[in-house]
Subunit: 203 residues, 3 copies
Amino acid sequence: MSPEVPPEIFHHQLQQVLDLLGIFVFAAAGALMAVRKNFDVIGITLLAEVTALGGGVIRDVLIGAVPPAAFTDLGYFGTPLLAAGLVFFLHPQVERIMSAIDVLDAAGLGLFCVIGTAKAYAYGLNPIPAAALGVTTAVGGGALRDVLAREVPMVLRWDKEIYTFPALLGAGITAALIEFDLFGPVTATAAVTFAFSFRVLAL
Amino acid sequence: MSPEVPPEIFHHQLQQVLDLLGIFVFAAAGALMAVRKNFDVIGITLLAEVTALGGGVIRDVLIGAVPPAAFTDLGYFGTPLLAAGLVFFLHPQVERIMSAIDVLDAAGLGLFCVIGTAKAYAYGLNPIPAAALGVTTAVGGGALRDVLAREVPMVLRWDKEIYTFPALLGAGITAALIEFDLFGPVTATAAVTFAFSFRVLAL
Amino acid sequence: MSPEVPPEIFHHQLQQVLDLLGIFVFAAAGALMAVRKNFDVIGITLLAEVTALGGGVIRDVLIGAVPPAAFTDLGYFGTPLLAAGLVFFLHPQVERIMSAIDVLDAAGLGLFCVIGTAKAYAYGLNPIPAAALGVTTAVGGGALRDVLAREVPMVLRWDKEIYTFPALLGAGITAALIEFDLFGPVTATAAVTFAFSFRVLAL
């Protein structure tokens, strides 16, 4: 329960860039759903924030890392605002590059299932529950978005898309790497790439 | 992260009266929705509790103030029971004064966005995330109510009512007052009044 | 707020067997709903985990017992996987013994409302809020399941089944027993049995 510093997988600045990129695309996906549902600018902003930060916030609350990083790092909090603004003004253009968004979203999924697992492990969880929280980090925000927007949560459906399974694989590989003391920048990148590729192939 | 005593904006007893009044009207709004949906007395009670206390509980969990005040102060917990009972027995009469309820609900909204921001700041958050939690305090319970009752969350909709925006303004003003060291009983009252008036004008 | 060791009502091994049995039947109920909604194996697993562990996780987060027991004890985490697997392969058979499942679910309801109240009290809550968290332990997972699967939460409905009320009685009796210093293995068993019987009679 004693919070240690979560391990950074990559060089500090690289990791931060990756984090913010992942948050940005998750937020854009949330904002787009809000636009399609004719929510107003407030609804777009709220759904962008919840989609982008929800998974990490749930993980942080469950491991006792409060206040969550999303509330202490202004970059985390501000990035969804930027994404919401862009989608608000440019959503026809954003819709047009939706397949590019899907690829970026897959990158976010791959990144967050690995990072989330590593952070939960650093807070003292066993590898298996840590992997469960890694999956939560990757798909939790989307699940909250779907509940708020009254969609059947994509994480539960299989007729639609294979979404949760790549995150589960990425988190499971990460847990195994940690268990066998093989977790480092190279293997972490491999795990991210694997989950990302699996998701992209399922698109 | 070390919980300090949250600052009380107003005189202790005045603040408690205001808190309980806000909780009461939020609870009444939740109970009324339950009645309209033909939920039973248990459903009315649960929805009253969730609507009245949900926003503050989410804030307290996120800032690490557990157990939340809603579970340690019997007044907080008991007030929604009272509101649920009144609505259960008198809902035709309560419906008739619904516009009065709406005005009281606006007062709760104004009060809680300011108090919530101040409490989050007192727990060490920066002003901007503190304002986000102030908004959460004001609208979170209603969002939970809408999700449980399977309504599109009012906080996301604009075709219906301008609900979240006044809370956002009130929380933003509070954060600015705190940032510039101007936060006190008088300015806090002004912020509450501003958010309240904005919401009432939008009714 | 200082976590004490939660009191075990029964002999350690007996309590663990009861806990896991309760988790198993809650998980089976969640998995069955997922099957009926045509969710895939991931959806079945997620809904089993959420239904079985959700109530206890919410309670643990609210009393500050993080990481929740569900994430530190592999038995808690693994049992829903087992239930999900069984339902996935054998759901026609499971459907056929649904009335048996309902009786076991009633046992889980009775057990968790009492255990949940006792644990919340052990973490320093007053008896009344502790009872509220006991009810949350018993019905919270089912509420999360219903929200994710887009059903009207059973806890709010009365046209369907008397579900929350027996949990409320069991938790209330537990709180009274604690308050009057009468809480022990025998009286706890009586409270569990009472809530269980009430629920079974309402089936």
